[in-house]
């Protein structure tokens, strides 16, 4: 889960995506790569249960089993928090590779790597071992530009790229506001696709439910009544190979009088 730019919804998306995979019966681990600025634990609502972290495991100070936090709401879901005290150099290629390999041997179906913002070590390590990359983008110039930069790194600085293979790229647009797109104030989904030329896997509408979910430490995908929760669920299904039409792309049509008098 990557983006380059911060604040676009990587952690929100990682939490929702990992929960969605686990809900479908896949044994899933979600790892916070943002060493020094850990936040996945808060979004997942397990911040008070953190004992050991990712760096402890890499340094051999704790076993993977000790550090993985089993999610209380969703079966098959495990969280590996980032260290809050170390610096980002604590993430070594060998260490990260070993943790991911150990998870594979422990029969995990999916390992979701929540990348930090930027293009430094943490971001590099989060993408290095990836088979698939979800590039999270807001309809906003700086986010689109940074996403393109990240796509360049995915195509050159990953293990797959080094082996002459390629990481599968998927574009997820978040904080989308159809009414602003219609008014010509916001980049539309087609514009972003034309610029980045990456297959679209989902569009998450701007929604109050995302803040509500983070406030309460419950991944937004569990809010099944919300538009964002449903859009995340569609995205997970598409990732797993289902054909699901995109929703929430058009403005809800109001009648003439409602538009006049709001």
């Amino acid at each position: 889960m990557t983006s380059g730019k911060g604040g676009v919804g990587k952690t929100t998306t990682s939490a929702a995506f990992a929960t969605g995979l686990a809900l479908r019966g896949y044994k899933t681990a979600v790892i916070d790569f943002d060493v020094g600025l850990r936040n996945l634990d808060l979004i997942m609502g397990c911040e008070r249960r953190v004992v050991y972290d990712f760096v402890n495991v890499i340094n051999g100070e704790a076993s993977l089993k000790q550090a993985l936090i089993r999610d209380k709401r969703t079966e098959n879901l495990h969280v590996l928090p980032a260290s809050q005290t170390r610096d980002k150099d604590a993430l070594t290629k060998e260490g990260v590779g070993k943790v991911i390999n150990d998870l594979r041997e422990d029969h995990f179906d999916f390992v979701v790597c929540d990348s930090p913002a930027g293009i430094e070590r943490g971001a590099h390590m989060a993408m290095y071992f990836a088979d698939d990359a979800i590039v999270v983008t807001n309809p906003e110039v700086s986010s689109v530009r940074d996403s393109d930069r990240i796509l360049g790194l995915l195509q050159s600085k990953t293990q797959k790229a080094e082996q002459g293979d390629s990481v599968r790229e998927h574009l997820l647009i978040t904080r989308y506001s159809p009414s602003r797109v219609e008014a010509g104030e916001m980049l539309g989904m087609e514009d972003i696709l034309e610029i980045l030329a990456v297959p679209l896997i989902g569009v998450i509408p701007e929604s109050q439910s995302v803040l509500q979910a983070s406030n309460s430490g419950s991944p937004v995908i569990l809010d099944k009544a919300s538009d964002a929760g449903q859009a995340y669920d569609d995205f997970v299904r598409r990732f797993l190979g289902e054909t699901v039409p995109h929703r929430f792309l058009d403005v809800e049509k109001k009648g003439f009088f409602k538009r006049l008098f709001g």
């Binding site: 906003e140 110039v141 530009r145 104030e185 980049l187 610029i195 006049l260």
Partner: protein
């Protein structure tokens, strides 16, 4: 004022401008990263040489790098400022 917004809807938004600016800047950045590593430095060096003779800005120097099957092409396009009469 919902009635006011209703009549404003025809107004041209800024999204079009955002798209145009992005297309230009991303095209430049893609050339830099697909070309050899020395390309950004080469561009700067060329700029400083030309600036000894004529004042130019970064936008006036266009460096294109194309990978061919047998050979790569480095294309320089420098737009000189209009001559003073």
């Amino acid at each position: 004022m919902a009635w006011f917004d209703y009549f404003r809807q025809g107004k041209q938004g800024s999204a079009k401008l955002a798209k145009e600016r992005l297309q230009i800047v991303i095209a430049h950045e893609r050339i830099d990263r697909n070309g050899p590593e020395y390309l950004p430095q080469l561009r700067r060096d060329i700029m400083s040489v030309i600036r000894k003779y004529v004042p130019i800005t970064e936008e006036q120097v266009n460096v294109q790098f194309e990978k061919g099957t047998d050979y790569d092409v480095l294309e320089l396009n420098i737009a000189l400022p209009e001559r003073e009469h």
